[in-house]
């Protein structure tokens, strides 16, 4: 395990608070921060033929949007604070993908913002944070 903090972001207010928290922790602990944005996607969804034909383009633009809108600004803030940082954008199921990334970059902990999801929806589908806490290979810090 390395001195790496995996920060999960999605551009929400909660993820901004998580960024601040991760920044403070990383600064005091001298850790590196990996900023990860997971675009929700499933290989088992049903699409029209036209959507399939254009999928490659759509994927590229989704990645560009995630990078320019959320990941790059976060990396800039971290660099400003003098913290070593790296960004990852990937498609997949959020909790599962975050666990995989945590293992790949040998993170010591995962930091994620609470989203405050609607109770019924979370009850049926489970929240990303809830699933992550259950499945993560390393400790998870949930920032309120």
């Amino acid at each position: 395990m390395k001195n790496v903090v995996l920060l999960a972001v999605d551009g929400s207010e909660g993820s901004d608070r998580a960024l601040t928290h991760a920044m403070n922790r990383a600064k005091t602990g001298g850790a590196k921060v990996v900023v990860a944005y997971v675009i929700e996607w499933s290989p088992y969804s049903f699409n029209t033929p036209e959507e399939n034909a254009e999928r490659h383009n759509r994927r590229e633009s989704e990645i560009v949007r995630a990078n320019s809108g959320v990941v790059v600004p976060a990396l800039a803030k971290l660099a400003e604070a003098g913290i070593e940082a790296e960004g990852i954008v990937r498609h997949g199921k959020p909790a599962e993908t975050l666990c995989a990334i945590a293992e790949e970059c040998e993170a010591a902990q995962i930091v994620i913002g609470r989203r405050g999801q609607n109770g019924v929806k979370a009850m049926i589908f489970g929240s990303v944070v809830g699933n992550l806490v259950q499945a993560a290979p390393v400790p998870v810090v949930v920032v309120p």
Binding site: P43, Y44, P49, N52, A53
Partner: protein
């Protein structure tokens, strides 16, 4: 304003039956043409009293050849196909691209349609229970044809400058023959195919579907929609317009999501009906086998049953026609042959699973009560078989048929579009013209008397299997080389599993 609208609506409603005049005019113009084209394409040779259309023979010989030549890939590749669809070999770095599952699901929703519900009933009425056996055999052989055409569809697809992909028989025919130094012939075959798929898309992929949807709705409404075909057609056309021209993806996405559930729902209730008829199961199954080899009471005997079974299977799973390879070509893979493996599952799901289940529903009902459906055939016969045990089922069945028809129209609008763009280029405004023509035919499908127009489009769709299968024979060695190369990579561990 409101009064004006009311007036307009009343006028339209009253003028409904007046459309019959247009209907007859179209009919009288097209019928002679249809007869000539149909006679040529479905030219029959007489064997022992059964008429065997040459085009069906052409498809079956092709399917048998590919099954043997590819070393029974339909059996041996089945397990690997399932593992590919499950994503065992999916590279996490290409997450977000079109997966094998998605390409398969899209292709399946284009093939699963009215044919699975109504076509089987026609087969059983004309060809007896034995036709079911040959339907399954044809589905099994068709898996190999699909394997070949879908591998080629991916291998020779075009990657457009804007990053989107276009693939299908017109591309592999042109490029494949070009590679063999037959540039002119390849161009001719590609163009011929593109025209055929375009016209076919307006017929069996469009008018036939919208017409059957209307017939279904009318049956459920107890004939209350008689004379209002134009209104149903107009509504359907507007919805299709909203999806393919207006780009209202949500409608398409909803149907694409509901269709698989409807298929599962249909199979689930079909199995329940079969189980409710359970005392008739042994007899129904034995009828299928004895009918297959004796052909009792069928014109042309066992051969007659065989012909009907094969013909219905081809109508349903489209193996050899090449249409599905257009949908399969969108997948993200480094090895074209992987999509070939996945496409094996398409005739399996469509013909061997869904058609067989329908055949058993009808077969067990027939054993229990030979006169259950009266004179009805097609969807109405299947519906009656369900109704015998589950009285409320015709309503969801009609709804399901409507959705199947709709998703088939959406898929075929894309197949036709690819034929169109092959001919006229990727120009956006030309594409819009095509889409508007397509919508007009949706509306027309509910109004005009279908027979002549359908036989033209049927004939053209079957005609394109001539260049397609001819091309497959020429290009089969390439597919075999790809398959062997891929198998070697699998054995050496160069291609590894990402999941267990």
């Amino acid at each position: 304003m409101a009064r004006f609208v009311t007036f307009l609506l009343t006028a339209l409603l009253l003028s409904g039956p007046a459309f019959a005049g247009i209907d007859e005019t179209i009919n009288s113009i097209t019928a002679p043409i249809a007869n000539v084209i149909g006679d040529i394409v479905f030219f029959k040779i007489n064997i022992a009293g059964a008429g065997l259309p040459l085009v069906v023979l052409w498809l079956v010989i092709g399917a048998v050849f590919f099954t043997v030549y590819m070393g029974f890939v339909n059996l041996r590749g089945f397990g690997h196909a399932i593992r590919l669809v499950r994503g065992d070999y999916a590279d996490p770095n290409s997450a977000g691209e079109v997966s094998h599952f998605q390409a398969l699901a899209t292709a399946v929703s284009g093939t699963v349609g009215i044919g699975n519900i109504g076509g089987v009933a026609v087969a059983v009425t004309v060809g007896g229970a034995g036709a079911t056996f040959w339907l399954i055999v044809a589905g099994f052989l068709g898996m190999s044809t699909k394997f070949v055409e879908c591998t080629l569809g991916v291998k020779y697809r075009n990657e457009n400058p804007d990053g989107s992909v276009s693939g299908g028989p017109m591309y592999y025919l042109r490029k494949g023959f070009e590679e063999r130094g037959m540039t002119g012939f390849g161009k001719f075959m590609g163009t011929f195919y593109a025209i055929g798929i375009f016209v076919g898309a307006l017929g069996i992929g469009n008018m036939f579907q919208s017409n059957q949807a209307y017939v279904q709705l009318n049956t459920v409404a107890g004939g209350g929609l008689d004379g209002y075909g134009w209104l149903v057609g107009l509504i359907l056309a507007v919805v299709v317009f909203a999806v393919i021209v207006g780009g209202i993806k949500s409608i398409a996405r909803v149907t694409e999501k509901i269709v698989p559930f409807m298929a599962v729902f249909y199979c689930f209730f079909a199995i329940i009906v079969i189980l409710m008829n359970f005392t008739s199961i042994p007899m129904a199954i034995s009828n299928i086998f004895t009918g297959a080899f004796t052909g009792e009471g069928v014109a042309g005997g066992a051969l007659g049953a065989l012909i009907i079974g094969f013909q219905r299977a081809v109508f349903s799973n489209e193996a050899g026609i090449g249409s599905a390879s257009i949908a399969h070509a969108a997948v993200k893979t480094d090895e074209p042959v992987t999509e070939g493996y996945v496409s094996l599952l398409e005739p399996f799901i469509d013909t061997i699973v869904i058609c067989t289940i329908t055949a058993l529903v009808i077969g067990t009902s027939q054993v229990a009560d030979p006169n259950f459906a009266g004179d009805a055939t097609g969807v109405a016969m299947t519906s009656a078989a369900f109704e015998r045990q589950i009285s409320w089922f015709p309503l969801p069945l009609a709804f399901g048929a409507l959705l199947f028809a709709f998703s088939t129209m959406i898929s075929w609008s894309y197949y036709g579009l690819k034929g169109w763009t092959y001919l006229f280029g990727e120009n956006q405004s030309l594409q819009t013209i095509y889409k508007i023509i397509f919508c007009a035919f949706v509306a027309l499908g509910c109004v005009v008397q279908l027979d002549p127009i359908l036989s033209i489009s049927d004939a053209l769709v079957f005609l394109i299997c001539v260049p397609n299968i001819l091309g497959l024979y020429f290009l089969a060695p390439i597919v075999k080389a790809e398959m062997n190369k891929y198998q070697a990579k699998l054995a050496s561990g160069e291609i590894k599993k990402f999941k267990n």
